[in-house]
């Protein structure tokens, strides 16, 4: 007992304990400093805490790609920007998943899963100290190899491509907006690329005005062109038409990118004051003269009801606002105003295509698609699904007001079925070395409860500000925390608007708390990882004998209705 009470001290993890590129050397950094845009940067403008050289050394890495290597896959979540140092790359749209050789998740085998039965610790939050000591080695081992495109000439010949040469930057939009890559990137020839972690890119932008302006310009330009191409209504148009539309499209941002900061104070206010504080995109009754498309973020659709507003739905990325109203206006002489209001929920990027452009280039496409999809129950160009699927305005308000619409794997509990057996909690604990990663408690509406479990948000604001990139998105979209690189700063836990990240003190296998050199407890961020490495996923849903718990993408409200019935 006396031995157990002795504190165990280990070195506390630091921001740059594990460099992004293990192979980066001082010489590499010196060479980079001679290349634009770094050559024009003034090292003096960087603070002593984050000097330019250290950013380049610790938050970038140089990667060499052979011809036809897959650098980025369309649809993957970005966390890095890429600067071409030599060679050239192709930006390619809509490559088949099989062509891209998407990664299979590394799940535990049956025997590995079974081993957990006796290998799980009886103590809370036990960590293997040795793994912290060996973390650099582990991270290198985990790096996945670069894959190449098979039959590249044939595959690329059938796809829309655009070429980027040395000096060009790509992937910065996804990295900065925590969004999926809008295209795949393939090496056209042997090329050398500097990969910059988004934390590094943010640091560079913060201290270099030219880079910031350049990236903002690229962000607006590429976000617009690429997004227009990815919208179903525009996807069949040729590049010159897209450019034409793009030149006449207005791109506007509403709200604050760091919406989570104000959300926590907003949540306690009444619905009317919450709605009135949301930036207005379109007011009900205004003349419908634009095709309005949500580029990113969320927007509330509401209708005036006496002195307040009734939320009747919400729009998210790719959704179109009141398309039918616009079609009516361009086709007939009678003018119809917007029937509802549209407000940014925290933050929304909006594209506005003028009605004249819509009429000239898109009306024909729209009518053709209507004809093609006449038998389909959902019109892919409207957001009918989000509007009507629930038939429950109060429940819709509940999801929208609490911003649960952000969740792609929200843990919804049907309290009419839940007997409180805790099988879900036990299953979660079994899958995480005896530590449950959620709390079976949370916000309630009627018979529904949204439990305090990571929702694996579409817009994961928890990732903003993580100094080491420990919290990141997996290839399949789960938001996960790398325990080895987490320094316990609690930035993610404080940023999470839903309080779904917990900071825990960790201990060794004898139960003794781990302390740093100053005898402060070693703290780690923990949360649901959707059982990413387990043989069954997610364990909580799989373990519920009453079908009372479901992980739901709140974009698919119809799923909720089907399940609830």
């Amino acid at each position: 007992m006396s031995e157990q009470s002795q504190p165990v001290t280990i070195k506390k993890a630091g921001q740059w304990d594990v460099a992004f590129g293990q192979e980066m050397t001082e010489n590499d950094v010196e060479r980079l400093l001679k290349v634009p845009p770094f050559s024009s940067m003034d090292p003096e403008s960087f603070p002593a805490r984050t000097p330019l050289k250290s950013i380049l050394l610790n938050e970038t890495r140089i990667v060499k790609y052979e011809k036809d290597s897959i650098i980025l896959r369309q649809g993957d979540f970005g966390s890095s920007a890429f600067l071409i140092l030599s060679g050239s790359v192709s930006l390619v749209l809509n490559l088949d998943d099989s062509v891209l050789g998407r990664y299979q998740k590394k799940r535990k085998s049956f025997t590995q899963a079974l081993k957990q039965w006796w290998a799980n610790s009886d103590l809370a939050e036990v960590r293997d100290i040795q793994s912290y000591a060996n973390k650099s080695k582990l991270m290198q081992d985990n790096d996945s190899g670069i894959e190449k495109l098979a039959n590249a000439d044939q595959v690329l010949g059938n796809s829309k491509t655009r070429s980027l040469k040395a000096g060009a930057l790509f992937g910065e939009i996804s990295a900065l907006t925590r969004a999926q890559h809008p295209f795949s990137v393939i090496a056209e020839n042997n090329c050398t690329i500097l990969e910059i972690k988004w934390q590094g890119l943010r640091n560079l932008m913060n201290h270099n005005r030219d880079l910031r302006i350049h990236i903002e310009k690229l962000y607006r330009k590429r976000s617009l062109n690429d997004h227009l191409l990815s919208i179903p209504l525009l996807s069949q148009l040729n590049e010159s038409t897209i450019k034409e539309i793009s030149s006449k499209t207005n791109f506007q941002s509403y709200g604050s990118f760091d919406w989570h900061v104000s959300f926590k104070s907003l949540i306690n206010k009444s619905q009317s004051s919450t709605i009135s504080s949301e930036p207005l995109i379109v007011r009900e009754g205004e003349y419908a003269d634009d095709l309005i498309i949500i580029r990113s973020g969320f927007a509330r659709v509401s209708k005036q009801y006496n002195n307040g507003h009734r939320t009747i739905g919400y729009l998210s990325q790719g959704d179109v606002f009141e398309l039918n109203t616009l079609v009516h206006n361009v086709e007939s002489d009678s003018h119809k105003p917007y029937q509802t209001s549209l407000r940014a929920l925290g933050y929304a990027d909006v594209l506005k295509i003028p009605s004249s452009v819509f009429k000239q280039y898109l009306l024909k496409e729209y009518k053709k698609s209507l004809k093609d999809n006449s038998s389909s129950k959902d019109n892919e160009f409207s957001n009918d699904m989000n509007m009507n699927a629930l038939d429950d305005i109060d429940l819709m308000n509940f999801f929208v007001d609490n911003r649960f619409i952000n969740g792609t794997k929200t843990m919804l509990i049907n309290l009419d079925r839940c007997v409180g057996c805790d099988d879900c909690v036990n299953a979660c604990a079994n899958a995480h070395d005896g530590n449950p990663r959620f709390i079976r408690h949370g916000e309630r509406h009627d018979k529904y409860m949204v439990a305090n479990a990571c929702m694996h948000c579409k817009d994961p604001v928890c990732m903003i500000g993580c100094p080491t990139g420990a919290i990141n998105r997996s290839y399949s979209g789960e938001v996960i925390i790398n325990d080895l690189t987490c320094i316990g700063c609690a930035t993610c836990a404080n940023s999470c608007p839903y309080n779904n990240i917990r900071m825990v003190n960790v201990r060794n296998d004898e139960g003794t708390l781990l302390l740093d050199e100053k005898f402060n407890p070693i703290v780690k961020a923990t949360k649901c990882d959707l059982c990413i490495d387990q043989a069954v996923t997610p364990s909580c849903e799989y373990a519920c004998p009453h079908d009372a718990l479901k992980r739901i993408d709140l974009k698919d409200l119809k799923d909720i209705k089907d399940w609830a019935n």
């Binding site: 409180g420 899958a431 849903e541 373990a543």
Partner: protein, 273 residues
């Protein structure tokens, strides 16, 4: 038709189909060998082992053995099938001591299972209708919090209020009621009677109070009703948790007795027919 009703009808039809198949096979077996109890007995034993595996499946939640919901549905329908088969198997009222005991254990196990099924369908909607969702383990803490809040209000009232009626009411009636969970069975079967009783008590008390005293009483009454809500939650949640403490031990007891029954049957019963 409601999707759940549709699903239940399909499951019941499948169960009936399986039962019919067993009856047919039982007849064939009986016509061929004349000893159908062996046939239905082994089927019963197999079903019992399968039903017991559900508990193991719950513990092995990390293995890809099928979802717990699928297992639970199979457990329910196979359990009902087993109940019917059991009566086919015994054919007549058992007469030996061991067989009577075995029958009692089996029927108790079946009834506890059916009761568990019943309350798991009835109590959760009742609990979800309450304004607050309470985690079972937090109930004692919440009750203590309410008790302390009322105690503070009453202590302040001892000197400030003219009438002693509220303080007397607390000392004589409320104090003991707040100390622990009360009215367990009434909460399970007729929870509204508890609310009605305390409404009557406060209504009677209000006749002796005026002005400020009434507003203090209403504050105490509100907290008392919160305590009643919590007692109600505790009664229902206890029942939902603890029926398994009867069902699971009974199932293991039955397993031991069935193994003994098999040994006895094969030792002494084989030659009798």
């Amino acid at each position: 038709m409601h999707p759940i009703v549709k699903k239940r009808i399909i499951k019941s039809l499948v169960a009936l189909l399986v039962l019919s198949a067993i009856f047919v096979l039982d007849n064939v077996y009986q016509n061929s060998y004349g000893r159908s109890a062996f046939f239905t007995g082994w089927i019963l034993f197999s079903i019992m082992v399968f039903l017991l595996l559900f508990n193991l499946r719950k513990k092995l939640s990390f293995l890809p053995l099928g979802s717990a919901y699928t297992w639970a549905q199979l457990h329910i329908y196979t359990g009902i099938l087993m109940l019917v088969l059991f009566f086919v198997h015994i054919n007549n009222i058992p007469n030996g001591f061991f067989e009577i005991l075995l029958t009692i254990v089996f029927i108790s196990l079946s009834l506890s299972g059916l009761y568990g099924l019943y309350i798991s369908r009835i109590l959760p909607p009742r609990l979800s209708n309450q304004s607050e969702y309470v985690i079972y383990e937090r109930i004692p803490g919440l009750r203590e919090k309410i008790r302390k809040e009322i105690e503070i209000i009453i202590d302040e009232s001892r000197n400030s209020l003219q009438s002693k009626a509220l303080v007397d009411f607390y000392d004589q009636t409320l104090f003991a009621y707040l100390a622990q969970a009360e009215d367990f069975w009434r909460h399970l079967f007729n929870t509204s009677s508890v609310y009605a009783l305390w409404n009557q008590r406060y209504s009677a008390l209000s006749k002796y109070l005026t002005g400020d005293e009434l507003s203090v009483m209403r504050e105490v009454q509100k907290l008392t009703f919160q305590k009643i809500d919590i007692d109600n939650q505790q009664a229902s949640r206890s029942m939902l948790k603890f029926w398994l403490f009867i069902h699971i031990p009974l199932s293991y007891m039955l397993l031991v007795m069935v193994v003994l029954h098999l040994m006895l049957t094969y030792s002494f019963g084989w030659g009798s027919n």
